[in-house]
Assembly symmetry: C2
Homo-oligomer: 280 residues x 2
C-alpha cells in the first residue's frame, strides 16, 4: 500500500519504520528539508519532501503533526488528493478535530495511538513503538466502512491494540487518565513553589525523593502539550477538574475532621482499584 | 559501639546490616520471634530477642517501628535503660514525636532517614540503603550535644547525607514532598473511580499509561502509612492541602477563562523549577 505520513517526528517516523518493514511504500512530508533528509537516512521513509503534492498518489495519509496543525494540514492537503485517499490523524483529542475535519474530507478516520517515549523528533523514532499499546479509532456514523477497515488493518500492521469509541467518549477518558493528571501534577509543583518560608522550601527541595518525583513528573512535562490538551479538550477536562476538586474537598474535610478510619477506607479503595488501570 | 535496633523491618534490618559491616555490635528486638530468627539468619543483627531487657547495655538505640508505636516503645524501653543510653527514631513525622519523647528521655535525638524501597519487612533489608540519601536529625534546644554528635557519626557510618532542622520545619517540608502528594494522588484515583459513565470509565482503564501510572502511584500505596502521615502531621498537611486547593482553583479558573497563554506560563514555570527537587 502507498502510505503518506505528514509530520516526521517520534510518531510519524516510528510509523514509517514499521510500515516499511511490513512492505508498504512510505512517502513522508515535513516542513523542514533537514527532517526529510534525516527520515531518509534512518530509513523511516522511502521518499521525503516538503511538498504536499508528492502525496497525490498515496492510498492512506497519517497526519502526525502537533495537534494545532492537524486541521490546517488537512486544508492544505486537500487540493492535492484523489477522492479515494483516506486521511487519518494521531491527535490526542478527537471530538473537536473529527467535527472539524469530517465535513472537509468524508474519507477521514480519527485515530489516537497511545504510544510515546520521553523523547521527540525524528531522531527518536524507533521500530515497534506501537506494539501492544492501545490505538483508538473514533469513527462517526458517516465514516465510510471501507476507510475504517483499511486504517484498522494498518493499525494491525503496527501491532497496536485496536479500540473503537465515539470521539466524545475518547476525550472524556483521556481527560481522566492523561489531561487531568497533568493539571493535578502541575498544581502540586506550583503550590509547593509558593511556600513563603524559604527554609521550608529549601528543605523540601533537599528531601524530595521518588514519591515527589513520580507525582510531579507529568506536571513538569512539555508546556505546549499541556496547553494544547487543555485548549482542545476543555469541556471534558473541566468536567474532570470539577469532580477532582470535589474529591479533594472531601479528603480535606476528612483530615480536618480527624476521621482517620474514613481516610484509611478511601486509601484502601484507591490501593485496591488502581491496578485496574495498569496493563502490566 | 553497642547498637540496639527496635523494629526489624526494611529500615531496622538494613541499618543492622550496615552497622555490623562498620564493626558495631547490633542487638535487635522484634515483637515476633520469627522475625528475630530471620534477622539472625540474614546477619542483620548479632543478637536478637523479643525482650527489651536485652538492650540494657547498648549505647544507642534506633527505634524503627511504625510511627504509631514509637512513643509506646520508648515508654516500655525506659525501665530497662541506663541514663547514658541515647535514643533516636526513624519516624517520618517529627514535631509531635519529639515533643512527646523528649520529656520522657532527655537523651533523645529525633531522626528521619529518607530511604526506602517498594518492599517492607526484614526479608527486604539490603546493605547500603541509606547511602547518599538525606538523613534528617531534628535536635531541639535541650538535646545534649554529645548525643547529637554520636547519632550524627552513626548516620555518617550509614553514608547518609546529614541534614539538621527544627522538627516543625521538617514536618512542613515532608508535608509538601511526601504527604501532600499521597493525598493529591489518592484523590485522582478516587475522583476517576466516581465517573458515572461506565463506558468512559472502562475506556479510561484501557487507555491509562505511564502518565497515569506515575501520578497515581503514591495514592495507591500503603493505606496505613497514608493514614499515619495525615494523623501525625495533620497541621502541616492541612496547610499544604489549603495551598494546593487554592492553586488548583487558579488552574481551573485559567482553563474556564481560556487563558491559554497564562496556562502555558504556569506550565513553563513548573517544568523549569521541578528539577530543583530532583537530586539526580
Amino acid at each position: 500500500m502507498n502510505i503518506g505520513i505528514v509530520g516526521l517526528g517520534l510518531i510519524g517516523g516510528s510509523m514509517g519504520l514499521d510500515f516499511r518493514a511490513c512492505g508498504h511504500e512510505v512517502w513522508g512530508v515535513s516542513q523542514r528539508s533537514s527532517t526529510c533528509e534525516t527520515a531518509l537516512e534512518i530509513a523511516a521513509v522511502d521518499h521525503a519532501s516538503t511538498d504536499f503534492a508528492t502525496l497525490a498518489l498515496t492510498d492512506v495519509i497519517f497526519i502526525c503533526t502537533p495537534i494545532g496543525l492537524i486541521e490546517p494540514t488537512v486544508r492544505r492537503l486537500i487540493p492535492h488528493l484523489r477522492s479515494e485517499t483516506i486521511l487519518t490523524d494521531v491527535g490526542s483529542v478527537k471530538a473537536s478535530l473529527v467535527s472539524a475535519i469530517a465535513p472537509l474530507w468524508p474519507n477521514f478516520v480519527g485515530g489516537h495511538p497511545m504510544s510515546g517515549t520521553a523523547e521527540s523528533g525524528i531522531r527518536a523514532a524507533i521500530p515497534h513503538l506501537f506494539v501492544g499499546n492501545p490505538y483508538v479509532l473514533t469513527p462517526i456514523d458517516r465514516t465510510p466502512t471501507a476507510a475504517m477497515t483499511i486504517v484498522a488493518n494498518l493499525v494491525a500492521d503496527l501491532q497496536g491494540q485496536l479500540l473503537y469509541c465515539q470521539p466524545e467518549a475518547h476525550d472524556r477518558a483521556v481527560a481522566w487518565i492523561s489531561h487531568l493528571p497533568v493539571m493535578v501534577s502541575a498544581s502540586l509543583i506550583a503550590a509547593c513553589l509558593n511556600e513563603a518560608d524559604t527554609e521550608v522550601l529549601t528543605l523540601a527541595k533537599a528531601l524530595a525523593s521518588s514519591g515527589w518525583r513520580d507525582t510531579s513528573r507529568v506536571g513538569g512535562g512539555n508546556p505546549e502539550l499541556g496547553q494544547m490538551m487543555a485548549e482542545y479538550n476543555q469541556t471534558a477536562l473541566l468536567k474532570t477538574l470539577y469532580a477532582y476538586r470535589q474529591q479533594l474537598d472531601a479528603m480535606i474535610n476528612t483530615v480536618e475532621g480527624e476521621r482517620w478510619e474514613s481516610l484509611k477506607t478511601t486509601l484502601i479503595k484507591t490501593q485496591a482499584e488502581r491496578p485496574q488501570f495498569l496493563r502490566d
